[in-house]
Every structure is written in C-alpha cells, then in structure tokens.
Symmetry: C2
DNA sequence: AATATTTCCGTGCCCGTGCACGGAAATCAA
DNA sequence: TTGATTTCCGTGCACGGGCACGGAAATATT
C-alpha cells in the first residue's frame, strides 16, 4: 500500500540506513546519494509511518507553554482545561507538554521563565506576549535557535512567529457596544477601568475599547461617555470609587468593562438595585458567570483561552509529528455571547 | 519504563503468545492461565502500546456515520466540517470513518442505509434518530450484535446507546425567547412554522417551542402569540402566506422560528422595511448568516452539528483505540449566540 | 607503495504488538 | 498400548523506522 523506507532503498539501489540518514539530515552521505534519495522521496510521495517512528523513538520532544500563573478566579485559569486537553492529545503522539508559569506582574519572573524555557531545549514554545519588549527579545533568540513559537491571546508584530491564536479584540469591543446598547438609544455609558501602576493596560483591552468607542460614535454620536477607575489591589476602595462615580453621573444606565474583571463591580451594583443597569463584560470567569446568572450582568463576551491553547498545541502536533504546516498563521477564535440562559 | 506483554509473560511464567490470547479474548487458553494473566494485568496496570498495536495491525476498524444527505444550504451541511475533522483525527489512529447518506424525508432510504451500515460490520455507528420507530428497531439490532452507537442532534429513549451529543433543545427555546424580547415589554410575537405533510416536526423543534412558550408565559403572560405556516416545497407561496399573516396581525413586531430555515422569511421582511421586526432564528446556515449580516435577522442561536459529529467520532476513537469509556453519556454542546458583529 | 585517515555505506538489532504455525501435553477411542 | 483428537501453549516472523557498529572504498599522508 504505502511506500516505506525499504522501498526507497530498493528504488535508489542504496540501503535502508543510507536513506534514513538522508531523511534525517544526519550527514555521512555523498552528494550523489543524497540527491538520488531526495528525488525518490519526491517522486514516490513517501510519508513516514508515525507509529513506527513513535515506537522506535519513544518521544518526539517537548512543547513548553509559557504563561502567567493560573490563579483561581483569574483570567488565565480559563486556559487550564485547554492545556489539559492539548497535553493529552499531544501525549498520544509522543509529545510532552510542559507548563512554565510566572507572575504576570513581575517582569523578572517572565525573564527567568524565558531562560528556563530555552534551557529545556524545547521543540516548540507557546506564549502570550505579556511584556512586549521582553517578548520581542525572546522571539529573536528563538528564531536564532530555530525553535518555532506560537503566540496566543495577543500578538506582537515580529517576524518569525509560527502561528497566532487569539480573539479579534477590536471587533469584540464593537460587539460589546452593540450588545450593551442593543440598538436602543442610549444617553450615557460608563466604562470601568483598572488602575494600573506599573505596566500599562494589555493590548487586547486597549483594542476592545477602541472598537467599543467606534461603535458608539458611529451609532450614537451624542452618547455621553464617562470612565471610572478602580484599584483591585485595594478591594475596599472599589465601593467608594463607584459611589463617587455614579453620584457624579446619575444618568448612566449602561456599563462596560474591557478586561475580565466585571465581577468586581457586581457587589456595588447589587447594593443599589433601584438603579437598573445594562452591563456587559468579558470572559467566563466563575465569578462573572455567577453575576450573570444573578442577573447583575447582562451579557459576557468570551474568548476561550482554553481553545486557543488547545489549538496552539494541536498546531504543534501537526508540525512536529505529521510535518504539516498550518494554512493560516493568524487564527481568530469565535467570540461567544453568554447570557444567563446559555451560561450552562 | 512502562510494562509490556513480555513483562506480563515473565511475571506469569507463560509466553508472549498466551498472554496475547488472553488480552484479546481469543480462547485456546486454560482457565488457570487466563486468571494468572488477568491478575498480572490488574496488578501491573498494563496498558498496551497503541503505536506498536497500530503498526502491527494496520486498521482498527470502521466507524459508520449515518446521516441525512448534506444538501447545500440545508442544516446537515453544517455537519460536514466536523465529519472531516473527525475522520482525519480518527484516521491518525487507524480508524476509518465512512459516511452513509440518505434522504431525510424518505423512510425507506433510511431503512436501506441502516441495512447497509450493518452489512459493513462496523466498529461503531453514529446517527441522528431521524425516524423514531425505525431507529428504535435499529438500535435493538445493534445491541444484539454488540455494536456501540452514538446519537447526535437528538436522542430517543432506548437503552444501550453509548453516548449522546446534542443541544439542550428546551433551553435553547428559552434562550430564544429571552433574546427576542430582550426583557423589553412585548405585545405580540409571531412564530413561523413549516408545513409538513408526511412526518411530524422533529423533536428538537418541538422542545424549542416549548421552552420558548414557557419563557413568554413566565415573563410576559399577556403577550399575544400567533403562528404562521409556510411550505418550503412551494417557495412562491411563502410571500403570500406571510402577507396574509402580517396583515392579520399588524401588531406583531417580534418573530421567531424554531428550525434552521429563518432565511426563508428574509425576502419578505426585506420587502417591507417600513415594518421593523426583531427576528431570532437557529443555526448558522450561510443564508441565515447572510440575513444576519444584512440586519434582517437580529440573532441566531447555533448548535454546531459539526462539533457534535467531531465529538462523537472522537468518543469512538477513545473507546476503540484507547479503551477509554466516556464519563458522561449525555453531552450537551454550547449554544452560541450570533449577531451581525460576531458572525465572522 | 604502504600506511593512515576520512568519507561513505550496509547489516542487523531494537521498539511492542499481532498472529500464524507447529508442536507438546492431555484426553479420548480402539 | 497404540493411535486419533482435542486442548493448550511457545516460537518466530512481520509491521516500519531509528540508530549503533563495523567495515569497504576513497582520499590523504609518509
């Protein structure tokens, strides 16, 4: 049926061993033999039998996933099931998947994790570019070493990344505004943002806000916009901040947040049931879903970091085991809309 | 590292061949030897190496997918990509996946397809129970022969099905009503149904309507309900039917359909732009998505038959290749909400 | 020319499982 | 006891690829 190394050997008049050396670029082969084998490979359409290969070789290598520590109730926890699924699937094909976690606010921890990843001599690396400059430098090193890498969540413009799996951030902001207003005329919307001291907001958040604001100015140019800032590192201050904000803006009836922390404002909203808000946020953190089910949050837009991870791992399986390159580099995952009735 | 047949042989004092006979229930083994081997298997936690197995055996069998012919622009076409994904994944593990299509309105064709499927002596069968009674009988035969089968789309209550992958139909109807009304007070909603001559409506459609009506009566008990019937086999009559319906019910501003044919009423709606409707339907058929993007349809609820199929096939891979039984029999897929801004 | 060195290549075993074949041991028939 | 069956079991090859080892051929060195 299918063509084997032995067939190639027969076709070229060489031996199994020599063909094997050519196939793996292991040298010790004359130019003439090399070309003969390559020709035969092309003409015959030879494809190695992965089972035989896996049986003989054992492991195909290690994939390193470099991501922020998955803290209970925070965004990156959502990636966990995707990591598990991907690791299992990859394991079935002799690929080990290792996770390297770091503190997402500690740039030194990120650097250290990058070094550690390199030290493992991985067959591939998956990472969200949490720190732009550092990621840029790291990408350069990876390219030098010829290690393919995949961005998830967001990407930085640098050559040589193997693939990207993320969400169309701008578009999701646009969608957010559309859901929030539901095409009804809206007088004033409130946006709640996180006060960050050290590092700026993440890229996706910025792009979402852009999309959101564009939708508003396109559909409701007269709509008033106001922004509140809260500081999650001082939870007890949140209520006060919101008190002040909503007192100042009594006309606000619609609220959006562009990160995954919409649950932070749920307590305040539930303490003021007389003011009815329409509220849209992002990501199906369990606290968010709970607020959704209680009716405090109207809708959530989800980006499925788990699927991003699983797809990224799968993409490496295709490359490293089957030798298949992906057709498209930039993959945008579905945005799902969650309401209290399809939150499962 | 891991334990092999040779190890089992050494542990039991028997030979590789005998152990193999036990592992595959191939007989020709004394009771005593049989038990010795089984004990060793349990104690050692032996797991066969699938690569070696696949290499030696070639194919693991055939999975038959028994489904309505995927006609362009109709519901079952949506399953196609899932079939392709599943077949590829299964192929990677030496499982062949074959599709057997039939005319979904021809009960004889369904029977014939069932017979043909049986004749192929498949390792597993995947099917939506399009005809209740026939499926029931077919399920009986499959049980006799010990062939595992998986229901997709909907299920019938019969013992012995291996798994079910579908959508929570009732819940999706509930969601549909919630999206349609958007918690605004609604005076009158219109439902459009398909006129069926031979066979009744499909189960999911009925359940969706139930969920829909329950939501309405719970939230808007005074809301008027009216139903229009159209006949897709006479497309030219649809407009007239809708003309009559909407003339009779001038107060209707909200429309729902519970099957995947919402696109059938899009032309009428677009011919009467002066009447603004809120419209919710099901399934991302390309015609539906087009109507969504044009703004004629407000939202679509999607049930992803492709994911159902892919999951079902995957479930068989786990069973037939890895020997892993699924934890849950009844799997309900996500319902996604599509608006013009996340239709991609 | 004889030896040393490099370049190149073939042989053969291994991975773990599936299975055909043949034969030893046990049971039965005469 | 002998021969004919049946029951049970071990040996050995095949699957396709990876790779170590050793050796032949080609080239360099003296």
């Amino acid at each position: 049926m299918s063509i084997t190394v032995k067939d190639l050997a027969r076709m070229t008049g060489l031996s199994k061993g020599t063909v094997d050396r050519v196939l793996h670029n292991r040298g010790e082969v004359s130019r003439k033999s090399y070309e003969k084998v390559m020709k035969a490979v092309k003409e015959s359409g030879y494809e190695p039998n992965i089972y035989a290969s896996l049986l003989a070789k054992g492991s195909k290598g290690t994939i390193v996933v470099l991501m922020p520590r998955s803290i209970s109730g925070e965004f990156w926890e959502l990636g966990e099931p995707g990591f598990a699924r991907g690791a299992e699937a990859a394991g079935n094909f002799g690929l080990e998947v290792r996770k390297l976690e770091y503190d997402q606010y500690d740039i030194e921890a990120f650097r250290a994790a990058c070094d550690e990843a390199l030290a493992m001599n991985p067959a591939g690396i998956i990472l969200p570019p949490m720190f732009k400059n550092e990621t840029f430098g790291f990408a350069g090193k990876l390219q030098e070493k010829g290690i393919p890498f995949i961005f998830i969540d967001s990407k930085i413009e640098c050559g040589g990344y193997f693939a990207y799996y993320g969400m169309p951030a701008y578009q999701s902001g646009y969608l957010c505004a559309s859901l929030l207003t539901d095409d009804q005329n809206v007088k004033a919307v409130g946006m709640v943002r996180i006060l960050r001291d050290k590092h700026g907001q993440s890229d996706p958040t910025v792009n979402r806000r852009e999309g959101f604001l564009d939708y508003l100015s396109e559909h409701f140019p007269d709509c008033k916009q106001a922004t509140a800032f809260i500081d999650p590192s001082h939870p007890q201050g949140i209520d006060a901040a919101l008190d002040a904000f909503f007192a100042e803006n009594p006309d606000i009836s619609h609220i959006a947040m562009f990160n995954s922390r919409i649950h932070l404002i749920a307590p305040w909203l539930e303490k003021h049931p007389q003011r009815r808000f329409r509220v849209v946020g992002f990501d199906n953190l369990s606290a968010n879903v709970a607020a959704l089910k209680r009716g405090t949050v109207t809708a959530l837009i989800t980006q499925h970091p788990d699927e991003q991870l699983a797809s990224a791992i799968n993409s490496f399986v295709n490359l490293l085991v089957f030798g298949r390159e992906p057709e498209v580099r930039d993959n945008f995952m579905h945005m799902d809309i969650l309401t209290r009735y399809n939150a499962d």
